[in-house]
């Protein structure tokens, strides 16, 4: 049984072209870029090329790109750099719906004595920009706001956020792990200081990511050691991974239109057909400002894990909450922050499509899902009047 992979916000297939591009660096060209011989020197050149490709896709310059080991490391690096380079500033602003890679750094800072403002979101998952503006203080070291949410798909108005934050001369970081390849990003006009991304979310391999650091922004390295990445990230360069990221970024940029037309149409067809054919389903998140590939749907009365495991019987891969927190029993912090009512929050499923998603795959989901939901609902003790209560936890 071939899987129907609708979990692309968790991770993606490595594009065959990307694998092709990286293989030589796992086979014959295994040199160390820092070495004083031609064999190592030539991998130095391909790292430069990958840096150009990455910069090109983001509209920045190559020296503003630092290669890291993942999106998490990029987020950690940006936030710790911002606070360490401004030791006198003790306040950080972020949101309640960030990925744990930002949230947990913020909690760490709070324990270390920082004050952290966590901006709330409304039921549609939207920020209140007035609240953001009001939260800014003379001692605010950093504002960290994700570009788009991995669970709900909601896109934050980053241009306007940047205007507000940069007019106060405060550093701004964005976790763009979910937007690269799905929305156009142009760092020439988007005034963020840091931007994090991860290769495996854009059809690259796991274990490599990048951080954009705007020229002139003070920087403190997170990983300490050798002089790699101009002293900004120590550790022997993951050459194959970096080459793969470069290629994946090039393809991501080229695929933006397809993502926002064909892939978006597939997502809309899936979502509309589910909402029409199954009763008591609601959409999580602002439908106007949403990633083109993501649909987060809440199925009243039933529980997400059960739905997922039944879908799995047909090879359909989807997710409840983020892959990063699905190992825990808590309902998603994102849906909780949005105030999604209890029985809905627990029954939420995220379908996330990609350029490789086909019409036939969507058809299969639409054929099997209604039966799965009915079977599970037949087992549920909940009735109409109990639903809609807010979760106490």
């Amino acid at each position: 049984m071939k899987e129907v992979y609708l979990d692309n916000n968790a991770t993606t297939m490595v594009a065959p072209e990307v694998l092709e591009a990286m293989l030589p660096y796992l086979r014959s060209d295994y040199g160390n870029a820092s070495s004083m011989h031609g064999f190592g020197g030539k991998v130095g050149k391909v790292i430069r090329q990958a840096r150009e490709q990455t910069a090109q896709a983001l509209g920045c310059s190559a020296e503003e790109i630092i290669f890291t080991s993942c999106g998490t490391e990029s987020d950690n690096t940006a936030i710790f750099s911002a606070v360490r380079s401004q030791p006198e500033k003790r306040h950080v602003v972020t949101t309640r719906v960030e990925h744990p890679a930002v949230l947990n750094v913020a909690s760490h800072l709070e324990i270390a004595g920082y004050e952290v403002t966590s901006l709330k979101v409304d039921e549609q998952g939207r920020l209140d920009l007035q609240e953001l503006e009001d939260s800014l203080r003379p001692d605010t070291a950093l504002v960290s706001v994700m570009h788009a949410n991995n669970e709900s798909g909601v896109v934050f108005p980053l241009e306007r956020i940047a205007e507000i934050v940069k007019s106060r001369d405060i550093l701004l970081h964005t976790d763009a792990v979910q937007t690269v390849g799905k929305l156009p990003i142009d760092l020439q006009t988007l005034a963020v200081d840091f931007l994090a991304l991860s290769a495996h979310k854009v059809h690259g391999p796991k274990g490599v990511g990048a951080l954009f650091v705007r020229r002139g922004v003070p920087f403190r390295p997170f990983m300490l050691g050798g002089h790699q990445e101009k002293g900004r990230r120590a550790g022997t360069e993951n050459v194959a991974g970096i080459v793969a990221l470069g290629k994946a970024m090039e393809m991501a940029e080229a695929g933006i239109v397809d993502e926002n037309t064909r892939v978006k149409a597939l997502r809309d067809r899936l979502e509309n057909a589910i909402m029409e054919s199954i009763p008591d389903v609601r959409r999580n998140g602002d439908p106007e400002n949403r990633l083109p590939n993501t649909s987060s749907l809440a199925f009243k009365y039933i529980e997400g894990e059960s739905i997922l495991l039944m879908l799995d019987q047909y090879g359909i891969c989807a997710s409840s909450g983020s892959a990063c927190t699905s190992g825990s029993l808590e309902p998603s912090h994102v849906l909780r922050a949005m105030g999604v009512p209890f029985t809905y929050a627990h029954g939420s499923i995220r379908f996330s499509l990609s350029r490789y998603t086909t019409d036939q795959e969507i058809d299969l989901v639409l054929r099997e899902l209604p039966g799965i939901v009915s079977r599970l609902r037949a087992m549920s003790p909940f009735t109409g009047d109990q639903a809609g209560q807010a979760c106490a936890c």
């Binding site: 870029a33 070495s35 011989h37 190592g40 130095g44």
Partner: protein, 152 residues
């Protein structure tokens, strides 16, 4: 790995005029005392003040060897006055450029030349305290000299 031009590689692998000279008119030296003499430049100068031969001995990296080699070529046939006008930038340019971090290796050539010409003119070697922080441990080149070498 450094990005060396083909010309740097050529002058490094096939250095011109390497080795001491039998009967030089004058010898220029440069290098810090602690680390020993690192570049020796041997010049033969005819009575009219024209440089008829130049050779070198270098302890240093590929850039230092290539810089010395190309310098000896530049010098041959020039008058002492013309030679005095040669800068490290010219030496680097003659090589098709040097990596930014290696510009200081060409400073060596210029300084050895200065020292040779001062001796030729019978001037005393001025005893200058190095300004700045020593960065290239090979030759006691200072960061001020490097910055000068890069920005000039």
């Amino acid at each position: 790995m450094w990005d060396y031009t083909d010309k740097v590689r050529d002058h490094f692998l096939n250095p011109r005029n390497a080795g001491p000279m039998e009967d030089p008119t004058v010898v220029g030296e440069v290098g810090s005392l602690a680390c020993g003499d690192a570049l020796k430049l041997f010049l033969k100068i005819d009575p009219s003040g024209r440089i008829t031969d130049a050779t070198f001995q270098t302890f240093g990296c590929a850039s230092a060897i290539a810089s010395s080699s190309v310098l000896t070529e530049l010098l041959k046939g020039k008058t002492v006055e013309e030679a005095a006008a040669i800068t490290n930038k010219e030496i680097a340019a003659e090589l098709g450029g040097l990596p930014r971090e290696k510009m200081h290796c060409s400073v060596m050539g210029q300084e050895a030349l200065e020292s040779a010409l001062k001796r030729y003119r019978g001037e005393l070697e001025p005893l200058v305290k190095p300004e700045g922080e020593i960065v290239c441990k090979c030759f006691g080149v200072t960061d001020v000299q490097i910055r000068r070498a890069i920005t000039e």
